[in-house]
């Protein structure tokens, strides 16, 4: 069958969908959608009556827009109109729209119900099925009222088509779940039970879900289903894999129906009738036996379907809890699965064994697997499997193995810290994070270190959108009669800061909040009590109405005469403060905490310190974020702007932290010193070394008896990196070794050089390395200075060198043909753009040497440009942050005279001059 233009493919819809897919940004998508919405709205409002096809197409577009995550506030009426169309596809789209988008607009529900009623009585099975689906999808009370009596009739009527029966059974189930009071048992009930005998497997499969639900609620009325279910199950279990034709799934006969039958039987105790019971036990034994048979197919679908039935049979065996033989067999079977290579089976075996452990018949059998389970707790890679292992250990624990299990669980709990880290690492919304950490404190409070609850408070204080939620959540958590002290700490802090956000609700009025906190006070340790006292004084500020109550508490002897100095001092000071300070003063003293300057997560810092086995490495942490980022990339473009999972957790890095001012002042101070240093001794000594590096990047920059300085450098565009290697040639240590790089005069605005400090000690014979990052802001003529100071023996050594950072380092070679070259040469004809020098050759005039030098310069050496083959021409562009400077060079050697004439033409005159100066010394 063709893929895209199936059936009635709507071309307009397909075009619209591709348009949306081609949108490069969310803005573009919204623009395109708004355009479409306007178009549809005008079509719906227009004078011309729309034909069914157009209506269907527009309704379908609206549906698509809605499913993209946009709100749709019109079109419902047109969709309802489609319901009464005679064309199947129009009706179908109408129903789909209603199912997906219906709201409790009672006016529309009445119209929809009308259409449904018509279709139900149409006797057209496809129309009836559509209507039943719609009822099941919407499942509202109004619909239950309208159809709860009609559907049972359709279900059991003799002339109803099988497909309609299936839909009717499940539709009725839906209504029964939403409004059980409206579905009245009656004469149809017994006939529904007999659907278990229906010839059509599909009808049985659908009906059994309904029967199971009804049996759970009315076991007595439906108990005849037990024997029917057993005989049906028996027929399926004993059938060959081909007997059931298309209801056989990967060689497993009717797995869905088998599981449903086994589930239905779990609603009842073991059958009383001996024959029925015998037959059932036989079925269960057959299922257990089949598990040992070799698989009929290697496909995972085969083993899944087969094992699904097995697990459901084991659930029934556990439910009966009366057949020791079957229970032990079940336990052995699960024991095999505990070591299965499929993670899914290990997970399910652990889960299932958990219930088995509570049976007296199998408890001992389960216990024999303790080593395997402990091993699973330790080694399973998947946290959900480990969780199951922990649950099972809990379930199998008794006096005989308590010590072993408790020890294992304790070591498992050490992962609490990691839970907190993961929660923060993957937090996409902060309410989730708050929930998780509070849960962690609740479940494993003793294992939650201080860092964990500090961090949750930092996060709450820094995120105003989560403060109200956090206040509400801690308030609820503190309701527990015995809550962990760490919870009291978090609660005291958060309510003291943000209790006002929930004070509007009478259930959490200021006084209720205070009483709740104070009820925990006497059970807490000194540090927590101190924290609570601070929370109380904040309450006086937030809620003046609590002042009298709180002052009374502070005033009582157990506070102001407390033997603990800290508590006593707080009580006395807070009491005084609240009595004498004006409300303004109080408000200032107790102002809300400013946001914490963002720094490394305290939890992560702790983990790093720990560096124990299994500690999360920082790279792993960052990888996680990156992965999270990718997840969001182009992903969630829905209207709500969820913070990207890759976003910094606190998201305040851009908001200026309070402490910004002193820090920058500090760094300014450092800058003043660093400029002063080299400026004082600017006697640069190594011009010669400097010039050797104009046409090369690597080599020895300086060497004397003590020290050798090598450099390696690389440049790209306007950026460069230089590695400096300081070698101690002596056998004695250099002490107080410092290096300073500075840009004298106007160079500091032209070139940006950053260096990292070096180790102050250089051992004899050792070499240390320093990296400089260089950025060319605009063209420059001076060179940065490197000042080196160190102590050798008793003597202070001080040395200043020019760093070979020259403008030509930022060249990008430009290839061009002869014609272009001369055209540009002419364009750069203003006198100041040209710089020229005629000079005597200092070195050999060998062609290869010259070529190598010119290439080292960074320009492109152009062949076949100059009419005189003896001459050299070059072209290049200097990249600075601000601009690009185009440069052309011509070098004319005169071998006889041992002279050169060098000409430079650049788009910037200062560059021409500087390059000319530099190059005149090179040849």
């Amino acid at each position: 069958m063709p893929a895209v233009s199936k059936g009635d493919g709507m071309r307009g819809l397909a075009v619209f969908i591709s348009d949306i897919r081609n949108c490069k940004s969310k803005e573009a998508e919204i623009k395109r959608i708004n355009k479409e919405l306007a178009n549809i709205r005008s079509k719906f409002k227009g004078d011309k009556a729309l034909d069914g096809y157009s209506k269907k197409k527009y309704v379908c577009k609206l549906l698509f827009i809605f499913l993209l995550g946009h709100d749709i506030d019109f079109g419902h009426m047109e969709a309802v109109n489609l319901l009464s169309s005679n064309k199947y596809t129009e009706k179908q789209i109408g129903y789909l729209f209603i199912s997906v988008l219906v709201n409790s607009n009672s006016e529309l529900i009445r119209l929809i119900n009308n259409a449904i009623k018509n279709d139900l009585s149409s006797r057209n099975p496809t129309f009836m099925c559509l209507a039943l689906h719609c009822i099941a999808n919407v499942g509202s009370r109004e619909m239950a009222e309208a159809f709860a009596s009609e559907i049972p009739r359709i279900l059991v009527a003799g002339d109803t088509m099988d497909s309609v029966k299936q839909s009717a059974a499940l539709c009725l189930l839906r209504l029964y779940k939403t409004s059980p009071d409206l579905v009245l048992m009656g004469e149809w009930t017994s006939r529904v039970v007999h659907l278990l005998n229906d010839q059509h497997m599909g009808v049985v499969t659908a009906a059994i879900s309904l029967i199971t639900c009804l049996s759970q609620k009315n076991p007595d009325e439906f108990k005849t289903c037990v024997s029917l279910a057993v005989s049906r199950l028996s027929r399926i279990v004993s059938s060959a894999s081909t007997d059931l034709q298309d209801y056989t799934y990967y060689f497993v006969p009717a797995p869905w129906l088998s599981c449903k039958l086994l589930r239905l039987l779990q609603c009842y105790p073991p059958p009383e009738d001996g024959a029925v019971k015998g037959r059932l036990v036989e079925c269960l034994e057959t299922i257990l036996n089949k598990a040992q048979e070799p698989p009929k197919s290697k496909k995972v679908q085969h083993s899944n379907a087969k094992n699904a039935i097995l697990f459901e049979a084991i659930a029934l065996i556990i439910h009966y809890d009366s057949e020791p033989n079957l229970l032990v067999r079940a336990c052995n079977q699960l024991g095999q699965f505990l070591q299965h290579r499929e993670t899914n089976l290990r997970y399910l075996a652990l889960e299932s064994m958990c219930t088995l452990a509570s049976s007296e018949f199998s408890h001992e059998a389960v216990k024999t697997h303790i080593e395997t389970v402990i091993n699973a707790l330790k080694t399973e890679r998947d946290v959900s499997v480990r969780q199951r292992a922990a649950d099972l250990l809990y379930a199998m624990c008794d006096r005989s193995n308590a010590k072993q299990i408790v020890a294992e669980m304790l070591s498992y709990l050490e992962t609490v810290l990691k839970v907190a880290i993961l929660a923060e690492k993957y937090a996409v919304d902060y309410s989730w994070y708050v929930d998780t950490i509070l849960n962690l404190i609740r479940i494993a409070g003793d294992y939650v270190s201080e860092e964990v609850w500090y961090r949750v408070i930092q996060i709450v204080i820094n995120r105003d959108d989560v403060q109200g939620y956090a206040a509400k959540t801690v308030f609820e958590a503190l309701q527990a009669p015995a809550c962990h002290e760490n919870m009291v700490k978090v609660g005291g802090y958060i309510l003291g800061e943000f209790g006002n956000l929930i004070a509007g609700d009478p259930r959490s009025s200021p006084l209720v909040q205070f009483n709740l906190l104070h009820s925990k006070f006497h059970l807490c340790s000194v540090p927590t009590r101190a924290l609570l006292l601070s929370a109380y004084i904040k309450f006086i500020n937030l809620f003046p109405e609590t002042k009298a109550t709180i002052q009374e508490v502070l005033r009582c002897d157990s506070q102001i005469r407390n033997s603990d100095v800290e508590l006593q001092q707080r009580a006395v000071e807070y009491l005084k403060l609240s009595s004498i300070a004006s409300t303004d003063v109080l408000a200032t003293v107790l102002e809300e905490m400013p946001p914490f300057p963002e720094r490394e997560s305290s939890i992560l810092a702790k983990l790093k310190k720990k560096k124990g086995p299994g500690a999360v490495s920082v790279t792993e942490m960052e990888d996680g974020k990156r992965e999270g980022g990718e997840l969001n990339g182009g992903g969630d473009r829905g209207p709500d702007s969820t913070p990207s999972p890759s976003a910094d957790l606190l998201g305040i890095r851009s908001a200026a932290p309070v402490s910004a001012a002193p820090t920058s002042a500090g760094s300014l101070l450092v800058d003043v010193f660093s400029e002063a240093g080299p400026a004082a001794s600017s006697a640069a000594v190594n011009d010669e070394g400097f010039l050797r590096f104009v046409c090369k990047n690597n080599g020895v920059l300086f060497e004397n008896q003590l020290l050798q300085i090598g450099i390696k450098s690389e440049y790209r565009q306007n950026l460069g990196r230089m590695y400096l290697f300081y070698g101690n040639k002596t056998s004695v240590q250099f002490a107080s070794f410092t290096t300073t790089v500075s840009c004298p005069g106007e160079l500091c605005s032209q070139l940006n050089v950053q260096s990292k400090p070096v180790e102050p000690l250089v051992e004899g014979g050792a070499q240390i390395q320093q990296v400089l990052n260089i950025e060319c802001l605009t063209d420059f003529s001076e060179a940065p200075l490197l000042n080196i100071k160190f102590r050798y023996g008793g003597a202070l050594q001080n040395l200043t060198l020019k760093l070979p950072v020259t403008i030509n380092k930022f060249f990008q070679p430009t290839e061009m043909a002869s014609q272009d070259f001369f055209q540009r040469w002419k364009q750069l004809s203003q006198p100041q753009q040209e710089a020229q020098k005629i000079f005597k050759a200092n070195n050999s005039m060998d062609t290869e040497v010259l070529k190598a030098k010119l290439l080292g310069l960074g320009m492109a050496l152009l062949d076949n440009v100059d009419p005189n083959p003896e001459n050299y021409v070059c072209a290049g562009v200097i990249q600075t942050k601000g601009q690009q400077v185009g440069c052309l060079l011509r070098l004319e050697p005169n071998a006889q005279a041992q002279m050169y004439r060098l000409t430079l033409r650049c788009s910037k005159d200062s560059v021409s001059r500087r390059l000319c100066e530099l190059l005149a010394e090179q040849f």
Binding site: K87, V100, C171, R381, V385, T642
Partner: protein
């Protein structure tokens, strides 16, 4: 019973959402967000089941698409996996080598096929033949090609 079925891409873009119980848009958005984060963060070769609140989440990746089914606690996880697989087979039979694009461009068909297979969060029909027969029958009810070609494109 099943509560919801979500199809989303490796990048977290939702391709299909089916809710079997009434839910507010807010709740749906929250679940979609939770599911995509939860499932996409799973390591390969983890088990296909996750306990989430009071639901079991069963997920499986087919090529670029994740199928994620939320079921109530007493449901059988392995069969839920096969519910997903059977749905993929049904899509494949209808579209022929189904891919993500088929579902994007024919989302309404994907819904119709699902409706033949599941209803109200329960299995309605497990037979591939039966489901396909219904789908073909409804395709037969659609307009003839001539009718379709004579419609304006926009």
């Amino acid at each position: 019973m099943m509560r919801f079925l979500l199809l989303f891409s490796r990048q977290g873009r939702l391709r299909l959402q089916k809710w079997f119980t009434p839910m507010t848009e807010r709740e749906k958005k929250k679940i979609i967000r939770d599911m995509t984060t939860l499932v996409l963060a799973r390591q390969p070769r983890s088990c296909n089941f996750i306990q989430w609140k009071d639901l079991k989440i069963i997920y499986k990746r087919y090529a670029s698409l994740y199928f994620c089914l939320g079921v109530e606690n007493q449901e059988n996880e392995l069969l839920a996996l096969e519910v997903i697989h059977r749905y993929v087979e049904l899509l494949d039979k209808y579209f022929g080598n189904v891919c993500e694009l088929d579902i994007i461009f024919n989302f309404e068909k994907a819904y119709f096929i699902l409706d033949e297979f599941l209803m109200g969060g329960e299995i309605q029909e497990t037979s591939k033949q039966m489901v396909n027969r219904s789908i073909e029958a409804s395709d037969m009810l659609q307009e003839t090609l001539e009718e379709y070609m004579s419609k304006p494109a926009f």
